[in-house]
Structures are given as structure tokens and as C-alpha cells.
């Protein structure tokens, strides 16, 4: 039996533009990973985010998509950065 967890998702740049929001909450099952978050985001965003590349950060640190998420985590979708 799996309990629901909630994570905060933050979107930047092109993804924020495509999602129409900079932040939202996502409900997942307790055994979820960052890959599951990404999949949910792509489902929510639909065609607008289909072509958009992004990396994932968990609690402000880059993390691989196999990393598990926990209740209360902050997940960020990081499009290719453009500083400098």
C-alpha cells in the first residue's frame, strides 16, 4: 500500500513560459523518483513542453532521474542555462 506524497515543482525560463506557471504542487505515490516527476510534468504540459530539454534538481542540487523523492521535496526543472 503506497501513501501519497507531495512535492513542490519549480519551473524556469522556457519551461515556466510553456507551463504558464513558475511553481505548482504535484501529488505522487511514495515510491516515486525524479523520472516520475518529469513524466507528470510532460503530461501536464502537453505539446507545449514536448520539445523542451531540461535537467532536474532536487532540493537545489542537480540529481539524476533515478533519484527517489520524498514528501515536501523541492524539484526544479532546469532548462539549458544562459548565464554569463
Amino acid at each position: 500500500m503506497s501513501t501519497a506524497i507531495h512535492v513542490k515543482v519549480r519551473c524556469f525560463s522556457h519551461l515556466r513560459y510553456a507551463m504558464g506557471t513558475s511553481e505548482f504542487e504535484l501529488e505522487l505515490t511514495s515510491a516515486s523518483t525524479l523520472a516520475d516527476v518529469a513524466q507528470q510534468v510532460r503530461k501536464l504540459g502537453g505539446s507545449a513542453v514536448d520539445e523542451l530539454p531540461f535537467r532536474l534538481a532536487l532540493n537545489q542540487v542537480f540529481a539524476s532521474s533515478t533519484t527517489a523523492v520524498a514528501d515536501g521535496d523541492e524539484v526544479a526543472l532546469i532548462p539549458p542555462v544562459q548565464g554569463g
Binding site: 522556457h14 530539454p53 535537467r55 534538481a57 532521474s65 542555462v81 544562459q82 548565464g83
Partner: protein, 147 residues
């Protein structure tokens, strides 16, 4: 000695380094805002950032660069928010015994900054409208993780 900072203010005047008989090389890089973004004329760039992670990634990168290239003094200031055309959006100051390691470290630092510090730019048109910059510098060179 590593110092990094994000700021929404114009860069402060360059300070003359204190005399130091160990550091034979000082290299300063200013990245300035150009008048066109992907062939479209602009009046400014707007720098969006991920509050918290932008600062921590920049600080970690500076520390990593200093260790990797044995750089005794590295400072990086990066502006966020709107930066008018012609002004500097970033300043890097690299002080080291010799110029060879300084030049190498500078090139590496900026390349890394443009790949991992979560800052993004938007073009700002004369009417104030912002448009996202369509490509990142690294797009041609490396695959992006599609999540």
C-alpha cells in the same frame, strides 16, 4: 580565497588589487550585454535566476575552479534582473602566480558557468517586452537530458 555574488545592481568600480608579491598575474573578464539577441535588436537583457541554487552553484563552481587550477584568488560577480546594453552582466577576477593557470582557469570557469549555474536570459525590446532567448550556448556541443 573565493568570492561570488549575485546582485541586481550595476557592478561596483574595479578595485586595484592590494600589492601582493606572490600573484604575478591578474586576469579580469567582463561579459557585456550586446545590442542584439539572436539577430533581434534589444535594449537590455533580463537575467532570471533560481534563487538559492544559482548562488550555491556559483560558489561551488568557484571553489572547484580554484582547487582544480590552484588559483589563490577568484572572484565572480553576476548580475540578475535587467542589464542595459553595453553594461557588464558578469565580472570574473582571477589572480595567480602565473598567467598560464589563470587563463586556463578563466576559460574553464566561464564555460562551466554557462552550463550549470541556473541563470537564464530574456531579451528586452524597446517597448519593454521580454522574449526568451531561444538557444543556449552549449546546445550544439552537448546533449541535454530530456528528463
Amino acid at each position: 580565497m573565493v568570492h561570488t555574488k549575485l546582485s541586481d545592481q550595476p557592478l561596483p568600480a574595479l578595485m586595484e588589487a592590494a600589492a601582493n608579491g606572490d600573484w604575478g598575474s591578474e586576469i579580469i573578464f567582463h561579459g557585456r550585454v550586446r545590442g542584439a539577441e539572436k539577430d533581434e535588436e534589444i535594449v537590455a537583457l533580463f537575467y532570471e535566476h533560481y534563487e538559492g541554487m544559482a548562488q550555491s552553484e556559483l560558489a561551488a563552481l568557484a571553489q572547484e575552479t580554484a582547487e582544480r587550477f590552484d588559483i589563490p584568488s577568484l572572484s565572480c560577480l553576476h548580475r540578475i534582473g535587467e542589464v542595459p546594453v553595453g553594461e557588464s552582466s558578469v565580472r570574473v577576477v582571477m589572480r595567480s602566480p602565473h598567467r598560464a593557470e589563470g587563463l586556463e582557469a578563466l576559460a574553464w570557469f566561464i564555460r562551466q558557468l554557462k552550463q550549470r549555474v541556473p541563470i537564464w536570459k530574456w531579451g528586452v525590446r524597446a517597448n519593454g517586452e521580454r522574449f526568451p532567448s531561444p538557444h543556449c550556448e552549449g546546445c550544439d556541443r552537448h546533449e541535454h537530458d530530456l528528463g
